[in-house]
Each structure stands twice: as C-alpha cells, then as structure tokens.
C-alpha cells in the first residue's frame, strides 16, 4: 500500500469529519436543551430518515469488513452470521418496536418502570444497558485502532492510540453538543455512504463475472482450495461439538440480542408515533437486508478475485478483504482507480465506526442520566439538570471507553460484539418481553430477570476460553476456564427468562392489574404516548 492510498483516505476521512462537525454545530445552534431534544431529537424524524439512521446505527465496521472477510476466508460460515443479524430484526419489528415506542419515553427502563416500582427496576435496567453499551463501545474503539493500522499502514502503537483517542473525542463532541439530532444525521450520512460504497463494489464484482452468480461461487470455491466445502457450512464452526454449540449460542444471541440493544431501542423514540416506528423498521430491514446480501457478493468476490491466501496474509481475521477487493476492482495497486476505490472504502469504514460509537455513547449517557442518576440522586434536583447530567455522562463514558480501548489495544476483542449481543439478549430482552406481554409480572421478577441474565452471562464469559486457558485468550498464561463455549447465550438467555419467571412466582406482592392494563392499552393503542 503506497502513500497515495493513505493520503487520499485521510483527505476523504477528514472531509467526513468536517461534515459531521458542521452538522453538529448547525444542530446545536437550534438547541433548546430539553430532554426531549437531547435524547429523542425532538421526535419528529420521518420513518425514512429514522430507517436510514437505524441502519447506520446497526451496520458496524464489523459487518462491513468483518462479515465479508469471514466469507472470504471461510465461505458459507460467514454467511451464517449475516443471517442472524438480519432475522433479529423480525423480533424487533413484531414484538418490540411499536410497543416500546408507545410505552416508553427515552430508554428501555422507561417501559419496565411504567408498571413496576420505579427505583429498583431503573437501577437494574440502567446497569445492564450501560454494560451492554460499554462492551460494544470498547469493541468498536479497539476495532478503530486496528483498522488504522491495517488500512493506513500505521503499524506503530502511537498511530493506534491516537486513533482511539481521536474517535473517542469526536464521539463525545457529537453527542454532548449535538445530542440525538446530530447523532441521527451523522448516522444517516454514514448509512448513505456505506450503501453507496457497497452497491458500487457489488456492481463491479458482478460486472467482472458478467452477472453470473454461479460462476462467482465456482471461482471462489476453486480459489479457496477447499472446493465445494467452501460453499457449505462447517469450515469454521464444523469441528468438534464445542464449536458447533458455540455457533448455536452465538446464533441465538444474535437473533435475540438486537431487540435488547439500548442504542437500537432509543432510535424508536425519535419518530412521532408507533406507526412511524414500524415504518422505520421496515425501511431499516430493507436497507440492512440489502446490505448483507451485498456483503455475500463482496465476500465471495474477495475469495474469487483476491484469493483467501492474500487476504489471510494481510490480516489473519480477514478484515482487509473488502479494501483489497476494492484495490483490485479499481485496476490494481498502482492504478488511479485502485487508489481511489481503496481510499473510499477506508474512509467509509472510519465513518461507520464514528457513527456507531456516537449512537452507543448517546444511548448509554441516556441510561446513566435518565435511569441511574435519576434513581440514585437526592430528590431535589431540577428536571432541567438531567440533560446537563447526560452531557457530562457522555464525556465520562467517552473517557472510560478511551481508557479501556487503550488498555485492550493489543488484545483480541472480537468476542466483545457477540458478548454484547448475548448480554442484551439475556438481561434486556426477557424483562422487556415480560413487561409488555405478561400480566402477572412483578417488580421482583423484573429485577431478578435483569440480574439473572446479566450476572450469568458476564460470569460465564470470565470462565470461558476467551479469557483464559487457551493460546488465543486474553490471559493465555493462566487457566481458570470452566465453561467450554465462547459465547454464553445458549445458557444465559434461558437463565434470564427463568429468573424473571422465578422472581415473579416467589414474589410476595401481586402484580398491579391497573398498571398492567395501562401498559397493555398504551402499548397497543398509543394512548398517552409522548
């Protein structure tokens, strides 16, 4: 990779940063400083805008570079991943989006707290939301650092560290100055760029193979050295029983976790009604589904055109498959076309990371200020100060994320995204579904279900091979591995549901029928929704 790539990529990326900062400044000029404005952007985004923003929030660099890289290296097993990421949206659409929009105001805890004793429920749901967000955030920060090293050739530690610090500083600026309105527009811009980049590359790949998908698959299988096995499941997850159960665990976490991700839930509050929330999910399913279909073409295209050997040689995890593919499609390493396409892909990957971290930071600052601070503070603060708390929380979360990102810089943190989904599915989804659909659900059930999903999932990961006991672990030197799977979802998700049920049936108090009636009527009709 020559200096030209890096120069052009840096210029394009600086342009994106300039545009996003301009958006932030422009938005904060009109700022009113209300909680409605800061957390929900005034609730007046259109379904299409919100659909793009949801897609921008959800499609991380892990999807763009990671999944197509997995396909390029392991063929079909990478595709298995993307199916889970997409089908998850049906859970969101059918069970969550409209009802959450109708019942809540800003966060997940709002929905649960509306029919429970507020304080314990808010503390529990706030804690699990912040946990999920921080896990996801650290994964993105570390990813940003290694992306720089990969794409710009900046292998030095200093370049990585400054990238982590720069990304953290930018996300704090976006969130604390621009709130939800700036974050949403940044996500929309990013989603448009990402879709544009993916469409361009997909068309180029298909043109290269004369629109013959079959030929593309056959070439990829030949080039991979695995033959037809490349087009069937099993190359990555097909080994022993542990790795098979591991994939099932991950698949379950992916499909159930999306509906519990705090930064996804908070996006539904930016539209005026439940109907608009539904239509934004329909938009985002169209965009996300189309995007993952294109990553399939890009992944097999990278295997067929670049070849798995070259991809693996550049980065063992396959993260450079798409940039290398872009270089080749543009005409090769020394051509102008190759340089331009490579730089565009690199800049889009940066933009992707920035938009995703901004969304997560906003959601976690909302959890801190609206749920945790509001429950733990002395009851004499003015309501207006909540936004100030949220801004401060955004700075605090930024500092924590930068610190953890720097600490974990050299560690293999790819498991963190899967873990964030597993925690969301174990701690957030059960309490959300029980609150919306179970009349007998009580406060104790709610608290137990959150902690009953959160604690097992975190403990199981600490005892898993990703932390200790294998050469790839965080701490390869020690061995306190007692749980065989890398992803805890298969065990911790049922535990979360079980704990909620157990807490409810052992509860001394009965469920409040009237407040359940209110939740049910409001969730299905939108009466009294803000």
């Amino acid at each position: 990779m020559t200096g030209n790539h890096q120069m052009l990529a840096l210029v394009l990326f600086s342009a994106f940063v300039a545009v996003t900062l301009a958006i932030t400044t422009w938005v904060s000029r009109h700022r009113q400083g209300s909680a409605e404005e800061f957390y929900a952007g005034g609730r007046l985004f259109s379904p299409m805008e919100n659909g793009f923003a949801i897609a921008g929030d959800y499609m991380s660099a892990a999807s763009f570079l990671g999944i197509s890289g997995l396909i390029a290296l392991f063929g079909y097993d990478g595709l298995l991943y993307s199916v889970g990421f997409l089908v998850a949206w049906l859970v969101v659409l059918f069970l969550v989006a409209e009802l959450v929009r109708n019942c809540g105001r800003f966060t997940l805890a709002d929905v649960v707290a509306s029919r429970m004793r507020e304080r314990p429920v808010r503390i529990a749901a706030g804690t699990s939301s912040v946990t999920v967000s921080v896990l996801y955030l650290v994964a993105q920060m570390v990813g940003a650092g290694s992306l720089v090293a990969l794409l710009l050739g900046g292998t030095g530690k200093a370049a990585q560290s400054w990238t982590v610090i720069g990304v953290g500083a930018l996300m704090v600026i976006y969130v604390s100055l621009g709130g939800m309105r700036a974050t949403t527009w940044i996500q929309i811009v990013k989603a448009v760029l990402l879709m544009g980049g993916a469409v361009t590359l997909t068309v180029l790949v298909l043109v290269r193979f004369h629109g013959d998908f079959d030929l593309l698959l056959r070439t990829a299988a030949e080039r991979s050295g695995h033959g037809d096995a490349f087009l069937a499941p099993g190359l990555r997850y097909g080994g022993d029983w542990t790795s098979r159960f591991d994939f099932m665990s991950l698949g379950l976490a992916l499909v159930l976790g999306t509906a519990g991700l705090p930064h996804i839930l908070s996006r539904f509050y930016t539209v005026p009604t439940a109907r608009a929330a539904r239509r934004s999910v329909v938009w985002s399913i169209g965009l996300i589904g189309g995007f993952y279909l294109m990553t399939i073409v890009l992944g097999f295209g990278a295997a067929a055109i670049v070849g798995p050997q070259a991809v693996r040689g550049s980065n063992a995890a396959g993260n450079t498959a798409v940039p290398l593919l872009a270089l080749d499609l543009g005409g090769g390493a020394d051509s102008t076309g190759g340089t331009v396409l490579f730089a565009i892909v690199a800049a889009i990957a940066f933009a992707t990371i920035l938009a995703v971290v901004a969304g997560i930071t906003l959601a976690s600052s909302a959890s801190v200020a609206h749920d945790l601070y509001a429950s733990l503070r002395r009851p004499n603060a003015k309501p207006r100060s909540e936004v100030a708390v949220a801004r401060t929380a955004a700075v605090g979360i930024g500092v924590v994320a930068i610190a953890l990102g720097l600490l974990a810089r050299d560690l293999n943190v790819a498991f963190l995204v899967g873990l964030a989904f597993a925690v969301a599915a174990s701690a957030n989804l059960p309490v959300l579904l029980y609150s919306l659909f179970w009349g007998g659900f009580t406060t104790r059930g709610a608290v137990w279900s959150v902690y009953g999903g959160l604690i097992p999932s975190v403990v199981l990961v600490l005892l898993s091979p990703v932390v200790s006991g294998s050469p790839d672990s965080l701490f390869p030197g020690v061995d306190f591995q007692y749980f065989p799977l890398q992803n805890p979802g298969l065990v911790s998700i049922p535990l979360g549901f079980l704990a909620g049920w157990l807490g409810t049936v052992t509860s001394a108090e009965d469920a409040d029928k009237a407040r359940h009636a209110e939740t049910e009527v409001r969730s299905l009709t939108g009466a009294g929704a803000v």
Binding site: S46, E49, L86, W89, L90, R244, V521, L524
Partner: protein, 197 residues
C-alpha cells in the same frame, strides 16, 4: 400495497369528535365509524398535527359539543373520586375490558404469535441443520448452488416477506382501530381530569 406506502396525512381530526360519545366500550359504533370515515389516518414525516395527541384544539371540541349528550356511563360513575391516578387507572382497566380493545389485541396476537413461532423455528432449524448436518446442507442443487445456499438466501427472502406481511396486516387490520381507541382513551382520561379538578 407495498410496505413503504406514503401515508395520507390528515390535517385535522375532523369527524372524530362526533364519535366521542360512544366511548371505547361501544365497539359497534367504532366499527361503523371505521366504515364511514374513509380517510386513512396516517402519520408521516413532519406531522405534528396529524397526531391527535398533539392536536390540542380537537381534543377540546369533545368537551364543548358533548355537553348535551349523555355522558359515558363508566366515567360518570368514577368522576366523584378525587384521586386522579385512580381515575386514569380505572379508565385503562375499562378500556382493557372493552370489546374494541380486545379485538385489537387479539388481532395483534393472532398474527404475531404464529408469526414469531414460524420465523423463529425456521431460523433455529436453519442454524441447527447447518451446524449438525453440514453434509445435507452441502448437497448440490443446481450448478454451484447447494441446499445451504438456497436455505441462506431463503432466510433473506422470508425475512422480507414476513416484514411485508406484518406491515400490511398492521396497516389494514390494526392501525385504524388502534387510533380510534387511542383517541377515545385519551378523551376519557382527559374528561376525568377535567371533572375531578
């Protein structure tokens, strides 16, 4: 109809206040109203005013022209209670018991429960087959395309189909009735607050 259909914005809630006396418990009238008001109530992009919740003027009309009409039986019985929270809670319990609400709820459940069961078992079946029976998934179908590839692309296709079906069902079978109920419920709670204070 496609899921992305543009909504026809309704500029004001004309026609709504006249049905207000019926209350949520009169499902027959709600159904009748659904037929006689052909306008689709939609809420689109910049629609602060399409939404009855934002429409302060329209919500006041009910109080004005409703004076001569017999008050809804339930609220008038509750109106003597001083506790506003209790009143609102009673309204929600009453709405929850009403035939109109039970109809909306059962329409939602009758679609969503089988739908979730179907796509979830199809997804779990797909993942389990892919991990447990890779040999079956590798069986070639046509050219380089095998069972696994068809199943994976099938997941994409069914996801789009489920999305379309859900959006269509919600738009045609639930939206109107839910909006009527929302309107009626808010009228009842607001009427109570007015009476109590």
């Amino acid at each position: 109809m496609v899921p992305f259909c543009p909504s026809l914005g309704m500029q004001s809630s004309a026609g709504r206040p006249s049905r207000r006396e019926g209350g949520p418990e009169s499902s027959a009238e709600a159904h009748e109203g659904r037929d006689t008001v052909p306008t689709r109530t939609g809420v689109g992009g910049d629609t602060r005013f399409d939404d009855p919740w934002y429409d302060a003027l329209a919500s006041g009309w009910g109080e004005l022209d409703g004076t001569g009409a017999p008050a809804p039986a339930v609220p008038s019985a509750r109106r003597e209670q001083e506790n506003r929270g209790g009143c609102a809670a009673d309204v929600y319990l009453e709405v929850q018991r009403s035939a109109a609400f039970r109809e909306v709820r059962s329409r939602y459940r009758r679609f969503v429960i089988p739908g979730v069961a179907l796509f979830f078992s199809w997804y779990v079946g797909y993942v389990v087959t892919a991990t447990m029976a890779p040999g079956f998934m590798a069986r070639p179908v046509m050219g380089a395309v095998n069972v696994a590839m068809l199943a994976g692309l099938g997941q994409f296709l069914t996801t789009f189909l489920f999305t379309w079906a859900y959006a269509r069902h919600a738009r045609l079978r639930r939206d109107r009735a839910a909006l009527d109920l929302r309107w009626d419920t808010q009228e009842l709670t607001r009427g109570l607050r007015g009476g109590g204070s």
